[in-house]
Symmetry: C2
Subunit: 369 residues, 2 copies
């Protein structure tokens, strides 16, 4: 195996694929980077057996071949190489790497021992602009459950419909986050659940422009094809919970509120609520004013925001971090808070359209709050 690549291109490729590299693998070879050089191309990949990221860069190849290099050492080292190109040459046990006046020899592992991910047959597919997919993931992923006893909730549910819509859902028993967007070339109706970690790494690889990526599904895996780069993840087994029945439809109190003001007031109140180790803040809606209060043994806080209130006055309490999580990811200037009473959920929806739907359960309201 003997080839040369551009240092900057190699660094970019390594930083993409190592997102899938586990840091404490039970199988040591998984802490490596798989390389295969052939046809003027260096192909590299990492996998933790659940998630795989692979990519390719142009290479000048004198001798084809494959090898697995120690991932952390190699990726740290190539970051520090200052030459424009890096030359690689392997004798089967060692990879000799050379760039300008730096020479390094690194022990390699046999590429034949590197586990192969299952091939992802194209049973179902859809196209979506990268920036749209990136924003959808960011706006639901914080609601994924971390409770390992509820495996299916440790992922994000994607519901494709044949009318070219994608609904993305995450829920953890206390809140639901939903995003809905138009997509393209959707080949039918399908519901899948993708692990949270895969979704995080997919979002990290996605660019912020509107170039399209293809989502390809087999019965067990998803593959996202970026052209040179491909991300493959297994899907979570089982049916996602049927959340649709619990979404409230009619509301006694509807409040139009500025997101930035709600975010700032919630953050201030949370500082006081945190002292009480409860994160509990109280919201009082009356006279077109929202009054947010919190207290602890160190004191109390009282914060007012002008709102447009339609319907009944209401007192309701929440875990402030749940409101904060939603306000942090929204770009909208204003939203509606839709509620019924102090013991049923609050629903946060856009002023127009139905791009998102957040539902947050209240916490118990104490008179003293």
């Amino acid at each position: 195996m003997r080839f040369s690549v551009n240092t900057r291109e190699l660094n970019e490729a390594v930083s993409v694929v190592t997102k899938a590299m586990p840091s404490n693998a039970t199988l040591p070879i998984l802490e490596g980077i798989y390389m295969y050089a052939a046809n003027d191309t260096l192909f590299i990949k990492c996998t933790d057996l659940s998630l795989q990221i692979e990519t390719e860069i142009p290479a000048i190849i004198d001798d084809e071949g494959s090898a697995v290099l120690p991932g952390k050492l190699f990726s740290d080292l190539v970051k520090k190489f200052s030459g424009d190109t890096i030359d690689f040459e392997s004798d089967g046990n060692t990879m000799n790497i050379r760039s300008r006046r730096v020479k390094s020899s690194i022990q390699i592992q046999n590429a034949d021992e590197y586990p192969e991910m299952m091939r992802v047959d194209d049973e179902f597919s859809a196209d979506i602009p990268q920036n749209k997919l990136k924003s959808m993931i960011k706006q639901v992923i914080f609601s994924v459950s971390n409770d390992e006893t509820k495996a299916i909730l440790n992922g994000v549910c994607l519901e494709f419909d044949s009318d070219n819509t994608l609904v993305m859902v995450a829920l953890d028993g206390f809140r639901i986050a939903m995003r809905k967007e138009k997509i393209n070339n959707c080949t039918g109706k399908k519901s899948v659940v993708i692990p949270k970690r895969a979704m995080q790494e997919i979002a990290a690889v996605l660019s912020s422009d509107d170039s399209e990526v293809k989502l390809i599904f087999s019965s067990t895996h998803i593959k996202i094809d970026f052209g040179g780069t491909k991300v493959i993840s297994r899907l979570l087994d089982g049916e996602y919970v049927n959340y649709k029945g619990i979404l409230p439809k009619n509301f006694a109190t509807r409040v139009l509120i500025n997101c930035e003001e709600l975010k700032n007031s919630t953050e201030r109140a949370l500082l006081m609520a945190r002292e009480a180790k409860s994160n509990r803040i109280k919201l009082m809606f009356a006279n077109n004013t929202l009054t947010i209060t919190a207290n602890s043994e160190k004191g109390n806080i009282n914060d007012e925001i002008e709102v447009q209130l339609v319907g009944k006055d209401l007192e309701i309490a929440f875990n402030a971090t749940y409101i904060q999580d939603v306000m942090r990811v929204l770009d909208d200037e204003c939203v509606y808070l839709n509620m019924n009473n102090a013991v049923t959920p609050c629903v946060i929806v856009p002023v127009e359209g139905e791009a998102f739907y957040y539902m947050i359960l209240p916490v118990r309201l104490f008179t003293g709050a």
Copy 2:
């Protein structure tokens, strides 16, 4: 107690004084911020009994008084206040704080119970530009010993001489860092040792311009007077170690080297050395070339730098982090590495002048390295 202050000015003042606030104080009142309002001025301070930072801002005062507020809660809260001014009013038990539509009541503690730092009588003083003092601290502090059994080495030694020079020294048994600068209005000869934490916080408060600050010493304390802001620290008891006798004077090998190149090569070699958990790199000086090598079970690295070598060829090994620490803080393009043999220290000095002097002990050289 009733007064108003500008929100931005209060935030800046709070962020300065809380650098001295301990996060886990044995005396709970020390986790508070002391406030005293009088004469159109709000005076605030924090101390951990070893270090005190105090400052003042203009205030509109209706009723003079003092109080101690819970430090973390109060400083986090005022950061989130959006109004231009904040109004304070205390009834002795509670501080009522108001800014625009936000109201908060915070439990306060009696200011009489807040410990008073010793007054710092002006027994000795000197003036120094802030940027010069800041750079001196940065360039020696990393060599302070963290070994708590050698208390005197847990500080930075400042040696003032009546010819208006200041020498700053830190050493940890494996290396020495020294900086020397001209200062102004030095009232005599004096040697003091200031705790590392105080030096860090002093550096953080110092600005990057050349306005002068006055260093004032009593027999037990230092006070740095920035005008409104004053930093007071106790001095460490005892004599600093007599390091002057061990500084080598004559060298068999003198090497002129580019700092950036030495830093980059050391960092690359360290990545390999770290795999061997030794951080040990070998330096070979010969034929106007420095060859840096390191090896581990995962491989080896060999890096060449052009140098100007005067004197004998030499092979010597170091803990790479000690070289890295020096190269990270120097702004010089080139330095001299002065050495004698593989078992005596390497001295790093400037190309011209004597602004700094670093001494690093070598580690044992193995033939296999």
